[in-house]
Assembly symmetry: C2
Homo-oligomer: 423 residues x 2
Amino acid sequence: MTSLALSPDVAASVLAEQQEAYAALQARDLSLDVTRGKPSPEQLDLSNALLALPGEGNVRDGGTDTRNYGGLMGSAALREIFAELLNVPVGQLLAGGNGSLTLMHNALTFATLFGVPGGERPWAKEETVRFVCPVPGYDRHFVLCEELGIEMITVPMTPEGPDAEAVAELVASDPTIKGMWVVPTHSNPDGATVSDDVARRLVSMPTAAPDFRIMWDNAYAVHHLTDVETPSADALGLAAEAGNPDRVLLFASTSKITFAGAGVSFLGASPANLDWFTKHLGVQSIGPDKVNHLRHALFFGDADGVRAHMRQHAEIIAPKFEAVEQILTERLGGTGVAEWTTPTGGYFVSLDVVPGTAARVIALAKEAGIALTPAGSTYPYGKDPLDGNIRLAPTMPPLEDVKVAMDGVATCVLLAAAEAALA
Amino acid sequence: MTSLALSPDVAASVLAEQQEAYAALQARDLSLDVTRGKPSPEQLDLSNALLALPGEGNVRDGGTDTRNYGGLMGSAALREIFAELLNVPVGQLLAGGNGSLTLMHNALTFATLFGVPGGERPWAKEETVRFVCPVPGYDRHFVLCEELGIEMITVPMTPEGPDAEAVAELVASDPTIKGMWVVPTHSNPDGATVSDDVARRLVSMPTAAPDFRIMWDNAYAVHHLTDVETPSADALGLAAEAGNPDRVLLFASTSKITFAGAGVSFLGASPANLDWFTKHLGVQSIGPDKVNHLRHALFFGDADGVRAHMRQHAEIIAPKFEAVEQILTERLGGTGVAEWTTPTGGYFVSLDVVPGTAARVIALAKEAGIALTPAGSTYPYGKDPLDGNIRLAPTMPPLEDVKVAMDGVATCVLLAAAEAALA
């Protein structure tokens, strides 16, 4: 990655060429946004039947009146469907409100204020609490840590997930390291999926902290771009097998399956962790929106209903990812100034540019009316030490806009590389 | 209240009489539940149109696609409706998820971890944090305090709300007292509504703590049992007038307007408090369920739609409250062993029995198949110092069951009073 650079002997001609291209780009007066992993309106339309569900006659979920208070674990019918998809025993799966981020925040806040099973004290009573953050990663994870005063240490991502040896070495001797983030399937932003070997290593490695937790954010568990369904490692099962049943907290949601703002979230956990979580959750909630759970259960029917639904998503967004790949290859392939991922699922393409130019690329794009995720946002504290990584999010804009935006980004990448080579 | 007792000269005959009545009660093999303030199925049915809303074609709320991420303040259309009902400027009203308890928990957790505007440090960094709790009060408020290590000091309720002079005296000199609970309208459980005078006193009294907060839980703002709409004091407006704009955090929800488990919650606050709240809320949520907001906005149409809807609730539950009043009067009136409230709104009747017998009454009722709210639950830490208060919740069971339950409760009250007089 650090070897990305524009050859000095072509820099002058590339500069002239791309300055011209950039002027033409600016003249187009664009207003495009590829900043966030948001579903497009066409994707949201796939779930519009939810807007009239559960329907006037439908209020019962088994013996429960979904309209009334109660039921902290959420709808049994819905949990049954997602237990299969998430590889979590249904008794260990809780269904919550409209965002898994809230469940993650709850887990970390409970840990901070009250401690976790197996811990000696609330994390707030420790001198220092640190988390391992594989990079590039998801900015909202980092902000959660920052908010709660959890210091972040980075390890590199690999095509098989976090660099497990690097993690194991860190956590073996440092008891202040209380946990780590993992996006196990089609990770944000680089699209990697944790292999069984890496998963097994992470759940079985010795940790100096007795209350070490893996925040296993399986946000893209069923979000495949091709007909190949990349399976997720069975983190809870492997952790139990390894004698560390309480190490993993698994999170997921339908935010990118049904409605981003009106979906359902899930927490999978060991019995001890689930007791701990629901004990504290019960103080702040009399139960989740079970009508929305019923709505989702009726909409999907079963796990195969979810799988079929996700194939429809792929039909809409796969061409956008193909366009990104095609245009970046056409414009940047062989130039030596960029590398990027070709994900088989998820919501992002991770683009590495000439070190020291990512912020410049993003600024150039912005001035040309193309909004990219802010520089550094794939790193803790918003600080990319190489200033080299850019997250591309092609799902939201129409296909034609994605093409125009990627072509514009390529111009900015080349222009910034030429500037850097000549600086 | 402390003067409640059975006259010794009738105790023996009452005992014999009520032992017989109690035996007959037990023989009926009842299974009745008047423990919690839950809406009845007939009340929930009033909102069944929500089950098919917003409808397949409806996804927009102004310029917003409600299905997608974002919009931390919630739906503008819905906030407009409830701004009028809650007497809060729409710009100062946030609409949230399915429970105001979660908003209250958030507020207290943010205060604990980060402090509040005007405070010197996070409450967790204080030696002691205490809250004033008017009693009898709402058990879930007390549990929130207990969870966060906030000590509770009680003051008595009056027919005009909390005893404001007692509160003012406590908070004037004790900087560890950081806040208080108020249920301003048709309070839980005694049905009192805070007068303008009391409200003015509470928002203007000098407090030793610079960051004192009133948790103004207006849970029953529009929940009137008669045609008289008891108005709520304008707490935010009065606080601003008094030069203490940040003192009040106002909470409300539609849990007892639409669906108890699938409604919408509200937070009303000063601009500074709202900035503080949304800054921390934004770390745990990308926005509330705006589809549910739109669903509610379409269902009500406007504030008058809510008012008309609440009159339908009153038609269902007012006869239940009348039955409680009638049976308690018939059975306990003039006996000197009980006093109770006759609320004009809300969800509860507060019943005071002979001191030292409340737990016994609840145990007797339980053995006869009538579940009452656990003894002590209207007091912090579940400890009613007089063992004299019982909360009755007549909304959930059918009218006939309410009648049977109240008759049974009256028997238990008399029996326990006779036992006590003869002990």
